[in-house]
Symmetry: C3
Subunit: 176 residues, 3 copies
């Protein structure tokens, strides 16, 4: 694979550079013009907006069903304080599931870029990850579908996170 299709990072030119004082090493910073880096940035941000959207979705369901978590929220609309409304709880579980998976992607995606992946593979993984997580929200919280819809939408991004995590750990295993 040619140099142009791999993610360049702040790496020394040669192994022998490791012993040189750091100021003498010729380094190449990870560039924002690189497709894989730009891909990470755009899909990470889309996922952040998606996570933020869950709060709006929870708010919509809460107001539709007049079910709230705090006295001061229930009062103005004469709603009730309740913690077991199935529709509200379903959206909240989808939201929590995001928190269990997406911040891990933000970290692993960024660090994966430092392992010199092929740009085509990295871009593909980020794209599929984002699509999978959006599909997960749709089949879990927006329009609940029978399994294995949610299992697939959950599993594919999960495996991508796992793959990137294992790749990073092996790449930096000497730093353990």
């Amino acid at each position: 694979m040619s140099q142009a299709t791999r993610c360049q990072l702040v790496t020394p030119r040669a192994r022998s550079d490791i012993k040189k004082p750091i100021t003498e090493i010729n380094m190449v910073p990870m560039s924002l013009i690189q497709p894989a880096v730009r891909s990470y940035i755009v899909y990470s941000s889309i996922l952040a907006l998606k996570v933020l959207g869950m709060s709006v979705l929870t708010g919509i369901v809460r107001h539709k069903k007049k079910v709230f978590a705090n006295e001061e929220d229930a009062k103005p609309t004469r709603g009730v304080v309740k913690y077991d409304d199935p529709d509200v709880e379903r959206v909240r579980r989808a939201h929590l599931n995001d928190l269990e998976n997406i911040p891990a992607f933000w970290l692993l995606g960024a660090l994966y870029l430092t392992t010199e992946p092929s740009a085509a593979l990295a871009t593909l993984l980020f794209r599929v990850y984002a699509a999978g997580r959006i599909a997960h929200t749709l089949v879990y919280a927006v329009k609940p579908l029978p399994q294995p819809a949610r299992g697939i939408a959950y599993g594919i991004p999960y495996l991508i996170n796992l793959f990137m995590g294992v790749k990073i750990v092996f790449h930096y295993i000497s730093a353990l």
Copy 2:
């Protein structure tokens, strides 16, 4: 706006650089002396300390009311295991609300710096975000106030996250 007031990043000098081998591109690394970068670092860290503080706050309320989540925690103080104490649950909701919003800020704030924002605006957004989230904790969990106190303290940081997210996505839209 002059160059000095915008966040410089590892960007090529000219569009024509994109086709050059990466080692020949003249790049400018994002610098830790830039005010907007330093602002991001300090406010992100303050928010991390704030999130960590929620655990202490939960612990204080749990011990005051002798209400715990685990048998092994309740035993030494002769407390009870209970999951519906209103004061404990209020602090826990504030904590969860942090987890739904602050990690997204950590990501979006950092990526927003790569979109060449004005340093003054970026610094203002980070400062208001942090102040809003601290106010949110105060009016939600420390001294509950009637609405719209919490709504405002929640909404302003939320809109800042949204603004940064949309700005980043449009900036990198070609990487979709």
Copy 3:
């Protein structure tokens, strides 16, 4: 302490550089060959894999006890929908505790590297943090032990996060 044992970053060579146009400053990018940076990468990724593992652990306990959170999950195995199974809830609390602490580490660890810590100290902190959080999961969710086992496994990583956060804030205090 010699330069080689401290984390070098994109810092200007001299204070007087601050007023120079940014393109003229001689900068040194944070390098992936530095031990502390590599240590951060490997331990952050291990912790991300650990967080992802909590979902598998929850799934195992759910299937063993046939207790699920959604109708569509309970149906295929003739399980029940239940939200108060003590074993499932214990794993879920351990998982949530991860979300309250580990993303803060991902942020603080990275920013801590920009405060020119000694490489030996930074590496030690990352290593102990990761070990502590893994021990926390073991004594909380895998094989519950009486206190203070969990308190210690929780407290040491917590103090490391706190130390790094305070160090960062003081280092960048002028950016407030």
